[in-house]
Amino acid sequence: MKPRHLLAAALIAFAATTHAATLRWGAQNDILTLDPHSQNHATTSSILQHTYEGLTRYTKTYAIEPALATSWQQISATELRFTLRKGVKFHDGSPFTADDVVFSYGRIMQPQGTMQVYVGSVKEVKKVDDHTVDFVLSGPNPVLLRNIADFRIMSKAWSVKHKSENVQNYVAKEESYASRNTNGTGPYILKTWEPDKRVVFAANPDWWDKREGNVTEIVYTPIKADATRIAALLSGDVDMVTDLPPQDVTRLRGEAKLKVLDGHEVRTIFIGMDQHSGELKYSSVKGKNPFKDVRVRKALNLAVDREAIRRVTMRGLSIPAAIMVAPGVHGHSKDIDQAHALDAGGAKKLLAEAGYGSGFEFGLDCPNNRYVNDEEICQALVGMWARIGLKAKLNAQPMATFIQKIQKFDHDAYMLGWGVVNFDANYTLQSLVRTKTTGADGSFNLGRISDARIDALVDAIKTELDVKKRDAMLREGLVATRDNYYYVPLHHQLRPWAMKKNVTAVHNAVDRHESRYTRVD
């Protein structure tokens, strides 16, 4: 659509509804594709959710509520029956039925996509009638309803008509129609995507639900450079920015035209340690691995001044952490997440008890372009550990090379951040603490921690459908990880958004701004 037509469309929309408003939203990254089954990429998902919906969706407080399904019931431990919403129409006017769900399942499972994880334990999706489908699982899955919020439904008829039954293949020559066009059921209809320039949405007048806010047009603009993004907000070229450089937050708070919406991100930043090798690669200690000694790991924990990191390095934008999941994640509870205060004396004593009274040297790998102030935090840690006689040799690299190095276990200690896409703590326990096998088990357990009790807990939690029992096990797993000092949790990252005074938005902990909640007055 040409800009002129867009303007006309916007004017018509303005005339039609009394509170019509345009939201000009800026953030760092552009989307990669319009195909909802192709790329597991945070920005792409957060934009496409305006157009494509799943059977379930998250509420403002990250609980699950019905979306394209109105209800569901457990038929057996491995079978779940969904009743689909009647009267829902895709943006091209065709009706939404069970066929579309079955089709979308087949499509998201195609190996050339990277979204299969959201239908992980689903073996088959069976149509019962036009508005009923059965999900057959390979085993009980208590987080299924959370995961499938990101399993987004496409129209079968539309995909067939435009020869987009298949997700774009890396070796194919033809570009799939669905990677440049959309046809969803969601609150907004995607009008244009001009790569690196803007994505424009108009409100869907036939949406099955009511929008809480008054935004009828969204113009999403990717602005890569931090300074330019903030300048665009200050000059009024955009209304809202959802990823702020931390050094600018204080300044934005003082700006009369703007307001800062505080909120946290479900991401925990921590230090991992090699607890498997017989000898550390970059250490002065030969013939043994000091990180295998819980007293050494505890000393590393006690020597960290998390409050100073919060105040100085993060400029107030962090919550000091004791456990490996952030507030907002199911399983997190304040009483088990009381961060250690700095205790250099205690740390020194522990090191002496462990036989390292004169300290030792080890390597510390850090990314320098991934998390907020990642390299600066590592520099601060080097100083803090130096006070108890430990000499960390910092090696900060871009994420692309850093991640390769640590995935080869070529490290003594490393910094990593872990987000929880489905808001369930077992995601963290399974990926980071469970003994590494194949698949998701221990997929990022790069210190190769192996604790039989935690392994048993994780495996039980995976299939436990009794919420109370499951919650108790989650808690035990998190506390066991904490008290064995398997990691050095540093903090949970905060992610404030900034916007004009007349914008009201609901913060989201995985950076998924939902425009249906947003008001521009």
Partner: protein
């Protein structure tokens, strides 16, 4: 003449092959794109499967040979980040970069020439001193800083011009132009100044120095003695004779403008090839990086060829020398 052009084109192919080879041997150090493609949840099996599917497990010279084989057929493969044909991505972004470079180069050339001639002719006026001081700033400040300063002054403080982007564009076939809308023209101002400032000051200083040199020569004195007007002396004789080095430098700098648009495009979120390239680097998107480097090499080679041909047009001596040599 034709032989000369053909010889230069053959050299161009060699240059581009060399660029491609160097690029590919470097790509091994930028990281593993498969990790980005599959995300943190991927299993090692998945990663291995995709790596093999993309041929990334092969040694770089095999990957390079395949790349060249496809590139010869105009096929650059699919971007790993966007899963779209690389050629399509470049075609979409080419107009933005070329329009920006064109305006920046024109600005640099016109303003640089004017200021160069002025500062050479009025050596002691206060305006000359001022222009020389400004040009010193232009040469010494880094591009991204100039861009950010311009944004701060003209977008944030004064609010006259947009802080980023290309404004509204009009599509003429596959070419999207910003020249036909008011917002498109406004959006061009700050980035083209940022991009062209260094070249402008360079041309200004070069023209000034050459001009001062030429004004001291005997034939200028003779021209004055003939009673020619100042205008005829300055522009008909002096300026014309300063042009050969200016054309060389301008030509080479035009290539540099297109190549270094990367920084300006990143600062202004200008949706051109440079921005595409920077994002490809973050993601280790090998096909896009390889295609970009080859394309830039092509630009340089073509521009050099044009510069060589322009010499013939401007400097009659070259034509005579050559005519003698071939006889």
């Amino acid at each position: 003449m034709l032989a000369f052009i053909l010889r230069r084109l053959a050299q161009a192919v060699l240059v581009m092959l060399a660029v491609g080879l160097i690029a590919f041997s470097l790509f091994r150090f930028v990281g593993d794109p498969v990790l980005f493609m599959l995300g943190q949840d991927s299993t090692p099996d998945d990663r291995e499967r995709i790596t093999r599917l993309l041929g990334l497990d092969q040694p770089f010279y095999v990957q390079y040979a395949k790349f060249v084989g496809r590139a010869v057929q105009g096929e650059f493969g699919l971007s790993l980040r966007q899963v779209q044909p690389v050629s399509k991505l470049f075609v979409e972004r080419l107009p933005a970069t070329l329009e920006l470079s064109f305006v920046a180069a024109t600005l640099a050339l016109v303003a640089g020439l004017t200021m160069g001639v002025y500062t050479a002719l009025r050596r002691n006026s206060w305006l000359t001193q001022f222009l020389l001081a400004v040009s010193l700033l232009g040469v010494s400040l880094p591009t991204f800083l100039i861009g950010i300063l311009l944004i701060l002054v003209f977008a944030v403080l004064l609010g006259w011009l947009p802080s980023f982007g290309r404004g509204e564009t009009v599509a003429i076939g596959w070419w999207s132009t910003g020249f036909l809308t008011w917002s498109g023209i406004k959006a061009l101002i700050l980035p083209s100044i940022t991009l062209g400032l260094f070249q402008m000051t360079l041309i200004q200083r070069l023209v000034r120095a050459e001009m001062l040199e030429v004004l001291r020569t005997d034939y200028i004195k003779f021209a004055r003695a003939r009673g020619l007007t100042d205008r005829a002396v300055h522009f008909g004789h002096a300026l014309k004779n300063t042009m050969v080095p200016v054309i060389t430098i301008t030509g080479l700098q035009l290539g540099a403008i297109i190549a270094f648009a990367i920084i300006t495009e990143t600062v202004f979120q200008w949706p051109g090839m440079g921005l595409l390239f920077i994002q490809a680097v973050d993601f280790a998107d090998v096909p896009v990086m390889a295609a970009y480097l080859c394309l830039i090499a092509l630009f340089f080679v073509v521009i050099n060829l044009v510069v060589d041909l322009l010499y013939y047009a401007v400097d009659p001596r070259l034509r005579i020398d050559r005519a003698i040599a071939t006889h």
